[in-house]
Symmetry: C2
């Protein structure tokens, strides 16, 4: 359990650091079209698209001995929360841009961030259709699962990458002349970036390690899809 605990410490530290950066160095938060509304953007993205996104993935590893249906519901619910918070973060920056007459969607950060959010929405809807509603056949579910898992990890890495791009942009806009003097805000934001990288590496490790995978459970297998059996031969009709 040490690695999951370490991941939570890193993830929470990243969220706190985003809050401190925007709260202490940029005047805090508001919903009024001012820079204080922009400040919600970094906080919401790190909390929603990075931390909660990652935790929604982790529930399958941490609660690997709990009933699958409960874990699935928890996975979908945390993802929904992640999605709502991310959308608030997106609206915040577009709202601020409109009020300040700043153009949208010209930077690499905005391109990567938008791609991540759109694909994240798609991934959530596809997950809902395939795994929570009894729409897809067992064969379809089994075929889609590895794509869903791979895409989830790719989107988490893209979210972290977009966050680092956002950190760099914000620093070069707000402390243009003092960033190179190792001023405290620059160092704090760089540390936030490094924490996010470490968080991503730990998550990647946790997700790909066999020992954290859900062990096979014969009782579940009669109720749910057993992918190994499916791909190797038999095809149960119960989803």
């Amino acid at each position: 359990m040490h690695t999951p605990v370490a991941s939570q410490v890193l993830g929470l530290a990243s969220v706190v650091l985003s809050g401190v950066w925007m709260g202490h160095y940029h005047g805090g938060f508001a919903w009024d079209g001012s820079e204080k509304e922009f400040n919600l953007h970094p906080l919401c993205m790190v909390l929603g698209l990075v931390f909660l996104h990652a935790d929604a993935i982790l529930v399958y590893r941490v609660f690997r001995h709990e009933p699958k249906k409960n874990v699935k519901l928890l996975h979908g619910t945390i993802h929904l929360l992640a999605l709502i918070i991310s959308i608030v973060g997106f609206v915040a920056v577009f709202d601020f841009h409109r009020a300040a007459k700043i153009p949208d969607m010209y930077s690499l950060h905005s391109w990567c961030g938008m791609a991540t959010l759109v694909l994240f929405c798609l991934q959530w809807v596809m997950g809902l259709l395939f795994f929570l509603f009894p729409v897809a056949s067992s064969w379809l579910r089994a075929s889609y699962l590895p794509i869903h898992v791979f895409s989830g990890l790719v989107l988490l890495i893209m979210a972290i990458g977009s966050s680092l791009l956002g950190i760099t942009e914000k620093l070069l806009f707000s402390i243009t002349l003092t960033y190179s003097t190792f001023n405290p805000e620059g160092v704090l934001a760089n540390v936030l970036g490094i924490l996010l990288v470490c968080f991503g590496v730990l998550l990647g490790y946790l997700i790909t390690r066999e020992e954290y995978r859900r062990p096979p459970n014969p009782e579940e297998e009669s109720l749910s899809v057993h992918f190994k059996t499916l791909t190797e031969g038999g095809s149960p009709t119960t989803p």
Copy 2:
């Protein structure tokens, strides 16, 4: 073979675009401490730390039916080339900074990039010691292999992430006022960033797909380490 071919197209397009960006928009290349020396930095990093690094990983997938010893040598040689080109790219930027009296190592890009290069050197030396020289025992090799593979992919993603940070930095420094007007240089560099992301996703897909893995070969197993046997019990003494 479609996915490996697509990855080569994306990788080469990224290298070409880096060259065009620096060649066409920033006056080309030289080794004289001027901005033309800096221009070698993006080109060398994308060529060495991203494209060649990725191809060194890919040889195990593309030449999965060739003798393992040859593939191993090719893997190490491409990595050595990647390392040399990356170091040239690093020297170029430090040299330019010294001549222009620009401080070093203050930005998130420099922190991430330096961490990637240092760990990449370490990974190469460890790989050499563990897999090319008969220093490590079979047990040590088998234990280190999954770490080596995981670290290789993490370092490739870190190299791509650092490149995107570098693209953002360079654009905000050089086209500060026109980036937001969708000027051609900005769009070209953004497209380079998106190509690098797609390259990374394709590589991740190729590396994690079972069908591209090296198939077990009984002849090799008597000469080389058979990891499955090792971890499950027996421990052959021949490396």
